[in-house]
């Protein structure tokens, strides 16, 4: 059984070696895509430090409170404050040049003091938010609100403090909860490499499917089926060779990441496990596609659509936690989602070896289901031939 299996694997690898198109699809394209997209994400925060949020402030009030708030903002490392007129502030947000702007209206400070002593109408800060930069805008809004709260409390309690946090009855300690000592940029880059790696092996699966379909069209499949090895051995040979090629593809993507500054924060055992399982699962998907398709032309289009949809839902293009909650739950049935999550876990997300092994296991189960389906389907086709 083993020599027969190795015979199939050897032949498939020789065919792969002599097929430049397959090598480009399985290795060159995913590496180039990952490096390119990774460099874009890396430049957004590659240093690991959070970039200061640009905020435009128009102080029409010039009161003690507004000046104190501006002083407070100036001490905040995460803010980059630019002063402007109210019209300029609004225009900057409308043009997308700034995510957040705040206008302190004239009389704001007086109304705050009056409100605190007599309980009159509360004054309003005019805030402008760019919906296209919601995350930065909300961060800016938070820092600005904190600065005005500190200034108001100083005024109310007659205290001058350099650190507004000292007035609060609690302290906040910020952690990057999911990542292992990585900055935003590195995490994003790591996710890009994981996502593009999985996309690469899924495209490799399409190639595998097309090869099987070509064998069926050219009579090679029929010829091989007259030989002693069983259908299961023949398909297993494909699965193994596909796993080798897929693992090679993922390894090349990860190596390209390492060469461009990516660091592996998770377990190497976990990484090897999820790489092998993802490649095996993709190969099984390729076999399933081959067993369903009628012509190569028709199947190629449909399988590209299928792979792109699965890649998108898996979070390979953008992290799944950015999707609506119901989509996040629904995508648990998308096999590639587990591959991406597992790779994320092995590279940067702090889910531990056990978390990566769970992802590997689920990925492998999906692979086994697709493989079993392929055997059943090819058997059915054989009986009908």
């Amino acid at each position: 059984m083993l020599p027969a299996l190795l015979n199939f694997v050897r032949k498939d690898l020789l065919v792969f070696r002599s097929d430049r198109g397959a090598a480009i699809t399985a290795i060159v394209m995913p590496v180039l895509l990952a490096v390119f997209l990774g460099s874009l994400f890396g430049s957004a925060g590659g240093s690991g430090e959070m970039k200061p949020v640009p905020v435009i402030v128009a102080d029409e009030d010039q009161s003690e409170i507004s000046k104190r708030a501006l002083e407070e903002m100036a001490t905040e490392n995460h803010l980059k404050v630019t002063m402007a007129s109210a019209a300029e502030a609004k225009e900057a947000v409308n043009n997308g040049k700034s995510a957040f702007a705040v206008v302190v209206p004239k009389g704001f400070g007086e109304q705050v003091v009056a409100g605190m002593s007599s309980g009159g109408e509360r004054p309003k800060l005019q805030e402008y938010i760019d919906p296209a930069q919601q995350t930065a805008a909300m961060a800016g809004q938070g820092f600005v609100t904190k600065a005005f709260a500190t200034a108001t409390l100083d005024k109310a309690f007659g205290r001058e403090t350099k650190a507004g946090d000292d007035l609060l009855p609690f302290k906040a300690e910020t952690h990057q909860a999911a990542a292992k000592q990585t900055g935003d940029g590195e995490a994003s880059r790591a996710h890009v490499f994981a996502g593009m790696g999985v996309q690469g092996v899924l495209f490799m699966a399409i190639n595998l499917a097309m090869n099987v379909m070509r064998e069926r069209r050219t009579g090679v499949w029929r010829r091989v089926r007259t030989a002693p090895p069983s259908l299961e051995i023949q398909l297993l040979g494909r699965l193994v060779s596909g796993t080798v090629v897929g693992s090679l593809s993922l390894t090349c993507v990860i190596l390209a990441g390492l060469l461009t500054g990516l660091r592996i924060h998770g377990s190497l055992v976990g990484l090897v496990s999820i790489v092998l399982c993802s490649a095996a699962m993709s190969s099984a998907i390729g076999l399933a596609i081959a067993s369903l398709g009628k012509t190569e032309e028709q199947s190629r289009g449909l399988s590209v659509l299928f792979v792109l949809t699965m890649t998108m839902l898996s979070g390979a293009w953008f992290p799944s936690f950015l999707m609506p909650e119901w989509v996040q739950k629904a995508t648990l049935v998308v096999p590639a989602r587990w591959a991406v999550d597992g790779l994320d876990g092995a590279i940067w997300r702090d889910i531990g070896l056990s978390g990566v092994m769970v992802a590997s296991g689920v990925t492998l189960v999906f692979g086994a289901v697709f493989f079993a389906f392929s055997i059943w389907r090819f058997r059915t086709l054989e009986r009908a031939a």
Binding site: P3, S18, V220, R222, P228, R383, A384, A385
Partner: protein, 307 residues
């Protein structure tokens, strides 16, 4: 002995093979002739153990040939109609893979691959990718890939489609050599002359059934006894005189211009009568054709083999 008995293969309502019986004696070549859709491919599928018949069975030396019995299938070689080899690999890599399917490896595989390459005339092209080969070279490689495991029976499904005359001849010689060495062959073709040259026994198939089988001469006897002879004269007057004389001699004759056509059952008697009737003005040309398988096929199926 390869025997198919009572084979039936249905695809829904269509009966592709309809109670087919054939026997192929060891060391002989058996030809299977039939137009497209006659059921040849389904029959071949059952003979090589690829298709399980709905009824009947195929046996090789008493052992049933079936998709589940790998041992008996290993005694059969199959040359598909298509060029079923890997274009990306070279000839040697292809042969090594096909040898490996039958568990042949190491020095034994090397020897058999060398023999196969020699038989195919591809020793000088062994390391070249198959995609660079001509159609004939591919066909020859397609044939020898089925011989590596030294099968007892070789089943060839139209192995010469689209090849040049030189390669076709090389394939004929290879098949003749294999039969001389004692291999049993089953050969399907659209080309009557191939079957006539190579096969000891021939079966004619139509609509899933064997309509006739036997040696070439046995099949020719299935034709009606009347043959025809065309006599061409120098002018119409001479042709008219000859037609009248042949009629008086008891032969059925008709004239069209300067050509007289006469029908006969005994060629010797017909030649004597023509000599006597045309002694004064002999014909410029005489033409009579021996019965052919093409005529037998047309007579039995009502259509040309290439329909």
């Amino acid at each position: 002995m390869l025997i198919a008995k009572g084979l039936v293969r249905r695809y829904g309502q269509l009966v592709a093979v309809d109670h087919l019986d054939i026997e192929v004696a060891p060391g002989t070549c058996f030809g299977l002739l039939g137009p497209n859709g006659a059921g040849k491919t389904s029959t071949i599928g059952a003979l090589v153990g690829l298709v399980r018949p709905d009824e009947g069975k195929v046996t090789l030396d008493g052992q049933e040939v079936s998709p589940s019995d790998h041992r008996v299938r290993a005694r059969i070689g199959y040359v598909p109609q298509e060029i079923a080899i890997y274009e990306e690999l070279d000839a040697k890599q292809n042969l090594r893979f096909f040898a490996g399917l039958y568990g042949i490896s190491g020095p034994d595989a090397d020897n058999r691959i060398a023999e196969a390459l020699e038989l195919a005339g591809l020793l000088n092209n062994a390391d070249k990718p198959v995609r660079t080969f001509s159609g004939g070279m591919k066909r020859r490689l397609n044939l020898v890939a089925a011989l590596l495991h030294k099968p007892h029976v070789l089943v060839m499904d139209e192995p010469t489609v689209g090849v040049d005359p030189q390669s076709r001849n090389a394939i004929f010689e290879a098949v003749e050599r294999l039969v001389e060495l004692g291999m049993t062959c089953v050969y399907t073709s659209h080309y009557m002359e191939e079957v006539e040259r190579l096969c000891d026994r021939i079966a004619i198939m139509d609509h899933g059934k064997i309509v006739a089988q036997g040696t070439k001469s046995e099949l020719e006897k299935l034709l009606p006894p009347e043959r025809s002879m065309r006599l061409t004269f120098a002018n119409e007057d001479l042709a008219s005189v000859a037609a009248s004389s042949l009629g008086r001699a008891g032969l059925k004759a008709s004239r069209e211009g300067n050509v007289v056509t006469t029908e006969f059952t005994d060629l010797g008697a017909a030649l004597a009568a023509v000599g006597q009737a045309c002694a004064a003005s002999p014909p410029l040309e005489m033409h009579s054709q021996a019965p052919s398988l093409e005529e037998v096929f047309l007579h039995l199926t009502g259509k040309s083999l290439r329909d």
